[in-house]
Chain length 515, copies 2
């Protein structure tokens, strides 16, 4: 399965120039990195041995090893004991959530062997997913975005509930409780929770249990849009939305976001006949702004007039630390134009992989059909335990506890940020959610900071990668405070400051000689 | 949400003719049943009160009550205490697996409010799912098809493993083990199992964990077929396939099945340029035949020539009671034209909702992309427990135990069938699987037998509903022997004989006067 390259082929990729001031190992590093990013070297490809490489490149073996080691450290290559060095083949799931930011090629990518038109698009997307990334060790929690503190989750209790479930309620009846729309008692519990906590107007039959937001999103887009329809998206944007729209051949219309959230007026101006709007009204991802009431009303009014659908992604609204939470957009909608989505990944744990989507009443049947055909059924037991967790009051207590915990962390985070980064970065709203956005001073490159921070063991997704279209993206970092303790925040913050400083110095160095 | 009908509207549906020999209650019953089947009465609609109905129809209230009671007993209507009588709104998942047998309307169904073209198809399908069915109480296990004996499953042990999992390995790292393709250790375990037990040629990276066959199927069809492509299906057919093909606008080409399985020659004759073949080579569903080696080779040869893809559904191959099992079709394929699908629902338990699909090597990326975009991730813990169950040897032991158990039941079933139904029915192969097909004598209607058997508390899905296209379907019953003990088989068999006798008598009665 693994292609191995002849060393001579590498000459077409790596062209060394000994008269350049850049050291040779750095030239090899840059050339390989570039080839991997542009897919001239495919994921999974095996490199020639360092000995062979050194031979064809006419350099010492140590020079090659230096370059390769750096690329391994940064995650572009991986070494497998006994079998060689490979272009990184697969990345964990989280890679999907952020860094897919390459404008899909139009016209269409070349079809693969007998794949369908959509299949070709999926193939192309997957090539993007496996783009190498700067990746600190998985154990590093600072400053992971959108991730709950799992050390504070009662897993032992959860496991005991699971054991009791299988002992007392083994699933002896086939499919009797698991309808096509999900485990009925969980749908009831979610409907009740959403009515009370989020002001969602819904009956149980409108609630579908999904494997999380991605599934809700795909199902909704597929049901609501034809190929060629236009969809407004927030800019910057929760990136997976983009993949779904690309896969379904929906044309993407990026709409700017400001401190009142999505600029509805701009949307109406740019694409008055759009079919779909993706929006995060409670807590815009990633900037953190809240969609103002005036814009909510305008959006709903326009949607009703235009026959458009609104996908409301209410991904972390449980965590608001000051002021009153605005109820859901769906709750304001009297014309049933809103499809509401939520997830248990933030308030419980991501490995649970459960979320929900609330369909407008007259779309319930279509959702049932989609769920059946697409095979969106889910294991029964995790749904049953989640139901019990809600019904017995653990859910509300856990949210309350985590809200308090995250509020404290947010406070420590903002204090430490002011101490170490004060005046340097401009912070977005921190009154809600699990992360805060920190804008960099003009002229700084957030990818450079991201790479420097990764070398410190920190995760700081660059804001620019969340922008779509031809706008020049604002440079910043997404900094999650939810999974780390105050002490961990205090340890991580000076490292972040150091990484930023490093990049500032480099920028100064590299710009001064040429000016 | 619930529409209620004025009693006068019922006059447009029920037209009584007092001069007919058919009793009035039966006329009302037939008219309502017809209106429900043809969707003149929508699912969820509330009927007028029996008093009001009696008034507008000019009959006694008892006459109306007789008709309504019969329709409730047969599952067309349901009574909700205090709120009236409704057209049955939703059926459990199993309804999907069998009884959707209405030819999709062409041209296209009317679009619903702003739904996409596909959305409209899903909506239409869901209307079909909620077709009322004759439904014995869920507790009734005889003769459920494709269902394991869950009373013999070690749920207590499974639950203890779940408790230990959450205690010892709480999912503290985010997504590190759960890649887009499923839990890596489970993919490894499945690859190993399939290589050894089913002769599947695969590496771990080709294996994707899914929520079962439906999900595998949808993903494959979406990746491999464009709208308008043709697909061969077996006739009779595992019905859900049909829904997927309809939803994706794939044109369905039914190919006859005989005792060597799919008639490949007929397929090549009917649709030489088809893009896809759905096939159950180990144990054709529902007839039980095995695809012969000659046909396997012919099919693979044609697929390679035609650039077609083969979806191999190996749904219950673990249960073969005599002779050597033929290895998978995929294992014979040297051109990577086969997508192989399997499920844990039969060998473990359906509520687990786990299955797998093995992609050809060059389609792996496209599958990864589809899985990411479609949100086909799954809860981690059921995957982890399944892995442990396999790794610790429980899986192989459980299969061996169940194979022995089912073989005994098959023996008892065939003995009892010979005693009570001998000479009356013609049985299909019983050397493998969890059910056997019993063909009825010419002239008998399998739906009538099905209804009569349901009144005896038996499930006997009618074979005719699995046929597609314009062929006149062969009449028969699918009889599952796997979930019931020998004693339960001995109790159920005379009831089945009685139901068949009842229908034979009725047929004789109704045909004799007119001849």
């Amino acid at each position: 399965m693994t292609k191995s390259l002849p060393a001579s082929f590498m000459l077409s990729i790596i062209r060394l120039e000994s008269q350049l001031p850049t050291p040779l190992y750095r030239q090899i590093y840059e050339a390989l990195r570039q080839a991997i990013i542009t897919r001239h070297l495919d994921a999974g490809v095996r490199l020639p041995s360092t000995r062979d490489l050194a031979e064809v490149l006419l350099v010492s073996r140590n020079t090659v090893i230096n370059a390769i080691d750096q690329l391994i450290a940064e995650g572009y290559l991986e070494s497998r004991t006994g079998s060689g060095t490979f272009v990184t083949s697969e990345l964990p799931e989280e890679s999907l959530s952020a860094f897919v930011n390459h404008t899909p090629p139009e016209p269409h990518p070349l079809p693969k062997r007998d794949l369908s038109e959509h299949g070709t698009r999926y193939d192309w997307l997957a090539q993007r997913f496996s783009m190498p990334r700067v990746s600190p060790p998985p154990s590093s929690l600072a400053f992971n975005v959108g991730v709950p503190d799992l050390r504070a989750f009662p897993f032992e209790q959860w496991g005991q509930m699971a054991a009791r479930h299988f002992r007392d309620h083994p699933p002896l009846a086939i499919g009797s409780e698991q309808g096509l729309a999900g485990y009925l008692p969980l749908r009831e519990a979610v409907a009740e929770y959403l009515r009370v906590a989020r002001g969602v107007r819904c009956e149980t039959e409108q609630v579908f249990i999904t494997a999380g937001t991605q599934q809700s999103l795909y199902m909704a887009v597929r049901l609501l849009c034809n190929a060629g329809d236009a969809a407004w998206v927030e800019n910057p944007l929760y990136s997976p939305v983009r993949n779904v729209l690309y896969a379904e051949k929906i044309s993407l219309v990026p709409i700017p976001v400001d401190d009142e959230g999505l600029d509805v007026e701009a949307g109406i101006h740019q694409a008055p006949h759009a079919k779909l709007v993706y929006v995060t009204p409670s807590h815009q991802f990633p900037t953190g702004s809240t969609l103002s009431l005036a814009r909510r009303m305008k959006l709903l009014h326009w949607a009703e007039q235009a026959g458009a659908w609104i996908l409301e992604d209410d991904y972390d609204s449980e965590f608001r630390y000051s002021g009153y939470p605005l109820a859901s957009l769906q709750g304001l909608d009297v014309h049933n134009r809103v499809v509401y989505m939520g997830t248990f990944s933030k308030v419980l744990f991501p490995g649970l992989r459960l979320g929900y989507v609330v369909a407008p009443p007259d779309l319930v049947k279509a959702f049932v059909g989609a769920r059946a055909v697409m095979g969106y059924t889910l294991p029964l037991e995790p749904q049953a335990i989640t139901t019990q967790f809600i019904r017995e009051g653990h859910f509300t207590r856990h949210i309350r506890r985590m809200r308090k915990l995250y509020a404290e962390r947010r406070d420590v985070f903002m204090e430490e940020a002011a101490r170490y980064l004060g005046g340097l970065l401009e912070f977005g709203p921190s009154d809600a959610g699990m992360h805060v956005i920190a804008w960099l001073p003009k002229g700084m490159d957030d990818r450079q900071v991201w790479e420097a921070a990764a070398r410190q063991g920190l995760r700081t997704p660059p804001a620019s990668t969340f922008y779509v279209g031809n706008t020049s993206p604002r440079q910043g970092l997404l900094l999650g405070f939810s999974p780390i303790t105050p002490d961990e925040i205090r340890t991580a913050m000076p490292k972040l400051a150091q990484a930023i400083e490093e990049v500032m110095t480099q920028s100064a160095d590299s710009s001064s000689p040429s000016r």
